[in-house]
Symmetry: C2
Subunit: 121 residues, 2 copies
């Protein structure tokens, strides 16, 4: 029951597209990630996914359009919807994710970016 400082947690890792777990709420978890460039097209069949941008600007590509999510904004990607997060101009973007403990970050896809564990930090 201590306050969790996102900036302090973000100092603990530097790799991209590998979420770290910083808290749990019921059957959901809070993850932090640093991202840069383009991720992988995927979907989560059973879980919604919330992104909050902590630093920078995230672009979430959907099949028909791209949504810009600025620092301090949130977006929910509903279950079943294909998406592919990316950043532009080589920017490193910091994001917080809220989602079920069961979520795999690359969804139904296995890719070189797939990580099977989200270390607690």
């Amino acid at each position: 029951m201590n306050a969790i400082n996102l900036q302090q947690k973000l100092k603990k890792f530097s790799d991209h597209w590998h979420p770290r777990q910083i808290a749990g709420i019921d059957d959901m978890q809070v993850l932090l990630a640093k991202v840069k460039g383009e991720f992988v097209w995927h979907k989560h069949e059973k879980e919604d996914e919330l992104f909050q941008v902590v630093k920078g600007t995230l672009f979430i590509q959907f099949r028909d359009r791209t949504e810009e999510v600025k620092q301090g904004e949130i977006i929910v990607v509903p279950k079943g919807v294909e998406h592919c997060p990316m950043t532009k101009d080589g920017e490193e973007v910091h994001i917080m994710l809220f989602e079920k403990l069961s979520v795999k970050h690359t969804g139904e896809v296995t890719d070189e970016k797939t990580r099977t564990t989200y270390p607690k930090i």
Copy 2:
């Protein structure tokens, strides 16, 4: 699937201790609230509760101590733990809450601050 800007949402209401719903993720919800002064001692028997401070400094009183949660920090209050949020020196604090749709914000207590609905904004 649009970005949600917290600052724009916060402009839509001004009353204290009355959360507004801005998003849903599976069986959980994201709420925004403006708070000032002291809330009500309560607990949630079945639900954890996550607070994120968007502006100002929130103090969460537990029975044995008080935790300070600064802007940009988060804290999870586990189910069953009595707590009473407050602000100091008349500061209006803006918070985002992440919790089950089933949560009642005053928990097992009914008080003059109790609101039975969280309007969507």
